[in-house]
Symmetry: C2
Subunit: 428 residues, 2 copies
C-alpha cells in the first residue's frame, strides 16, 4: 500500500508556520485532554491539534475498519494493535481531509469547531501505556566514552559490545511526557576513598539524549522476530530523555545494572512520529566492525537521518544548545535491536518502548550527556548567561529537539523537563 | 481492623482435604476461566474454587464499598487498587460466608451452583497485569555462592551488597502462570577460550527459586515510601520461578545486567496469598552485618517463615525434590526492598511485582538454583530414576511448592512449568 500521506507536493488548508516540525507530511499521533476535560487521541498539523475521536464520529474515516471508540481512549495502545495497514490507511486519510483542495471539512465550520484545537487549548498526555520499557546502549561513541572514563581507555568497549546490541530493562511507571517536572533524586552514593556509603541528594543528575521507538504486538512467547520483519512492528518514534543520577549509578550498578540511578524519571516527547513519516529520511547504518551472527545481519537502509539537539535553560534564563547529534550515528539499528530482543522468544507487545541509549556523535560537541560533554565534570560547559554546568542544577530545564530535513522538514517537537529540588514531604 | 479471617478455630462447611494449602484461614485471590468461558476473580478453599463475581452479584458482599464489576475483570489490579482496608473486609466476609455455622450459602443450592467450581472445571490465569516487574538479589547465601563461583571466593560479596538490597528491572510481558510451558531459549554464548560468540540453544537453562510480592498503588512520582509504611502497600505473595539461561547471561550481562538470559519466561503460582493470611508466620529478619542507612532500618518481625521446595520431574517420570529452602533466609526483607525501590521517588503501582531473588539457604541441599546445587555442573544432581542433572533438560518439569505450618497450614499451591525443546517456526 502506498504512503500517499508522504506526498511532498501536498499543501493543506490549515495554517502551518514556516519551518514547522508538523507539516501535512508528518501527521503524528498523540493523546490530549481538551478544553472540555475530554481525553482523546489526536494528530497535529502546524500548530493545530486534531481530535481524531471527533473526526471519526463525524464519519471522516468511513471505509476504514476501525471500532467506534478506537480514538476515544486515553492511550494509543489499541490503535497500535490494529497494525501497520490500519495506521497507514488512517494517516493517508488525514492527509486527504486536510489537503488544500478538499473542501469537506475545510468548508464545514460546525465540524471544524469540534475537531480542531489550538495548542493552548489542549494538554498533551502520555501517548501510550508502556507495558515494558527496554533501554539499549547502541551508540559506539557513547559506549567508548563511558568505557574510557570509567574503565580502560585501551579497551574502552567491552568484549560483547560489537557482537550484541546490549540492552537492559527499565521502569515503565516513571515514564512521563514533556512538561512534567522531576525532583532531584536522593539515594546512596559512596566516594571512591570512603569506607561507607552516605545517603543524600544526587550530585550528578544528568540527561541522556535518546530516541525511543514504540512497538505493536509482535510475537508470542517463544517465537523470535526475523530481522527483515522487525520494522513491521515499529509504530513510530519519540524523543527520549533518560534521566540519570551518575553517582547513584556508580555505587549500585555492579553486577545487575542501573536501577535507582535511572528509574526516578524518563521523559518523552508527546507526539509519536510514525516510521512511515520518516521513510524519506532513511540512510545506511554504520558498517559493522565485526562479522555479525546471521540473526543480526540487516540489509537495506535501516537507519534514519534525524538531527538532534539538547538545550539547557536556567530558571528565567535563556536556552543554550549544549549538544548537536544525529540518530544516524547509532551503531545498532532498530531492526537489530528488535531481532535481538526477541531471539530468545521474549514477547513484544503494543505500547512497548525501546530506547536507543545515549546518542553521542564523533565530536565532543555531539556527545549526548553532561557526563561526556563535561568529561566527568573536568571540562564544565559554559551557558549563555556565563554560568557553568558540570551536571544539571536545580531548576534547570533540559530541552531536546529533533527533526529531519530533506526538501521538507519532519520534526518531533520537543521534550522539555524541569529539574526541581529534592522532594520535601508535607508536614503532617 | 481485626483480621477475623485468620481465626484458627474456624471450620468451614466446604470439604477441605487434610494438609490442604488452602484451609479457610488462607483465602487467596486469583483469576480463572470458568466452564462457561467466563473470566472472573475468585478465591479457593480446599479444592473448591469460589467465583467472587457471582458471589458479589448475589449480594454476599453487601455493606462493603465495592463497584459492581470489581470481580468481573480479567485481572486483580482494580481490586488491589481499592487498598488494604477493602481487601481485609472482603477476606473477612468470605471467611464468614464459608464458616461451618453460616447457613446462608451453605443451604442455598441454587447459589452454590453458580458460585462454586471444582478445580477441574476452571483454568487459572495470570492474576494481575504486571505493570513493572523488579527482581531483587536478596539472599546472602545465593549472592555468596555466585560470587564464589564466578568472581573471587575471598571477596564473594560485592562491596555494595551489604548496604543495598540490590535489584534490577525485569520483563513483564513474559511472566506466565503455572502450567504454561516454556521453550528452551536460543541466544549468543561465548566459550571462555573462544574468540567469537556462537548462536544456538542455551545449554544451561536453570530455575531460580524465588517468591514475589504484588503491590498496590503506593506513591506518586518523586515521593519515597517510608520503611515503616511499606507493608501497607503489599497485597500478597506468589511462588516465582525466575527462569535463567546461565550461558547467555555470562556473555551478555556486563555492564548493564541480565537481559535475554532472563526475559524468555518467569513463572508464578496463580493464587496470591495475602500478607494478612501470612500474619501468624512472621519472624525476625537476619541481623544486618553492617549498620544500615536510616531509610533501610526496619523494626519488628518483617520476615516470614515459608517452607519452599523445588522438584524436578523428567517426562513421564517421578518428581525428585532437589531443594528445600525457606523464605526467612532472605537477608533483605520486603519492607527494605520497597523502601529502597522508592527512595528516589520511583512510583510503585497496583499489580507491580517484586521478586526476592534466588532464595538459597545455608546448606547445599537448600540452594535455590541448579547452578548452585550442581556447583556449575561439577556435582550433578541425582534424580530418582537414576539420571543426573547439571541443568534442566528438554521436557523436564520444574515444580515449586511453598507453605507455612504452625498449628495450621497456609500454602501457595505450586508453580509447575515444563521446558519444551527449542521453538521450531512453522514452515510457510
Amino acid at each position: 500500500m502506498s504512503i500517499s500521506a508522504n506526498d511532498p507536493t501536498r499543501k493543506t488548508w490549515l495554517q502551518v508556520p514556516e519551518n514547522s516540525d508538523f507539516p501535512i507530511q508528518n501527521i503524528p499521533f498523540g493523546v490530549f485532554l481538551t478544553r472540555d476535560d475530554i481525553i482523546t487521541i489526536g494528530s497535529r498539523i502546524g500548530d493545530t491539534a486534531i481530535d481524531l475521536g471527533a473526526l471519526h464520529q463525524l464519519g471522516y474515516f468511513e471505509g476504514i475498519p476501525l471500532t467506534d471508540d478506537i480514538f476515544l481512549q486515553d492511550t494509543l495502545n489499541d490503535f497500535i494493535s490494529d497494525g501497520k495497514k490500519t495506521w497507514r490507511l488512517v494517516r493517508n486519510r488525514i492527509a486527504e481531509v486536510f489537503d488544500a483542495n478538499n473542501a469537506k471539512l475545510r468548508d464545514n465550520e460546525e465540524h471544524r469547531q469540534v475537531v480542531l484545537f489550538g495548542l493552548d487549548e489542549i494538554e498533551m498526555q502520555l501517548p501510550v501505556q508502556v507495558g515494558d520499557y527496554t533501554d539499549f546502549y547502541s551508540s559506539k561513541e557513547h559506549a567508548t566514552n563511558v568505557g574510557t572514563m570509567f574503565r580502560d581507555p585501551e579497551n574502552a568497549l567491552l568484549p560483547n559490545w560489537l557482537h550484541i546490541p546490549v540492552g537492559y530493562h527499565g521502569r515503565s511507571s516513571s515514564i512521563i511526557p514533556s512538561g512534567i517536572p522531576v525532583h532531584r533524586p536522593q539515594g546512596q552514593t559512596k566516594a571512591k576513598d570512603a569506607d561507607e556509603p552516605v545517603f543524600g541528594p544526587s550530585q550528578r543528575v544528568d540527561f541522556e539524549l535518546e530516541m525511543a521507538f514504540i512497538t505493536t504486538d509482535a510475537n508470542h512467547l517463544g517465537e523470535p522476530i526475523p530481522i527483515d520483519e522487525a520494522e513491521d512492528y515499529i509504530f513510530g518514534l519519540v524523543l527520549f530523555n533518560d534521566w540519570s543520577a551518575r553517582d547513584i549509578q556508580t555505587w549500585e550498578y555492579v553486577p545487575l545494572g542501573p536501577f535507582l540511578a535511572k528509574n526516578f524519571a524518563s521523559s518523552i516527547s508527546p507526539w509519536i512520529v510514525t516510521l512511515d513519516a520518516l521513510e524519506p529520511f532513511r540512510v545506511e547504518s554504520p558498517k559493522p566492525v565485526k562479522k555479525l551472527l546471521p540473526y543480526l545481519q540487516s540489509s537495506g537502509k535501516k537507519s534514519f537521518d534525524i538531527n538532534l539537539e539538547v538545550f539547557v535553560q536556567p530558571e528565567n534564563g535563556e536556552e543554550t544548545r549544549v549538544s548537536k547529534s544525529n540518530f544516524r550515528y547509532m551503531y545498532w539499528n532498530m531492526s537489530q535491536q528488535l531481532a535481538h530482543h526477541t531471539v530468545n522468544g521474549c514477547p513484544v507487545l503494543s505500547g512497548d518502548m525501546m530506547g536507543s541509549g545515549t546518542i553521542s556523535g564523533p565530536t565532543p560537541d555531539s556527545y549526548g550527556s553532561m557526563l561526556e560533554l563535561s568529561w566527568k565534570g573536568e571540562k564544565p560547559v559554559k551557558l549563555k548567561d556565563g554560568s557553568e554546568r558540570k551536571f544539571i542544577e536545580d531548576n534547570d530545564t533540559v530541552i531536546m529537539r529533533g527533526y529531519c530535513q530533506n526538501g521538507y522538514r519532519i520534526g518531533f517537537g520537543e521534550v522539555s523537563t524541569k529539574l526541581l529540588p529534592v522532594f520535601e514531604p508535607k508536614k503532617k
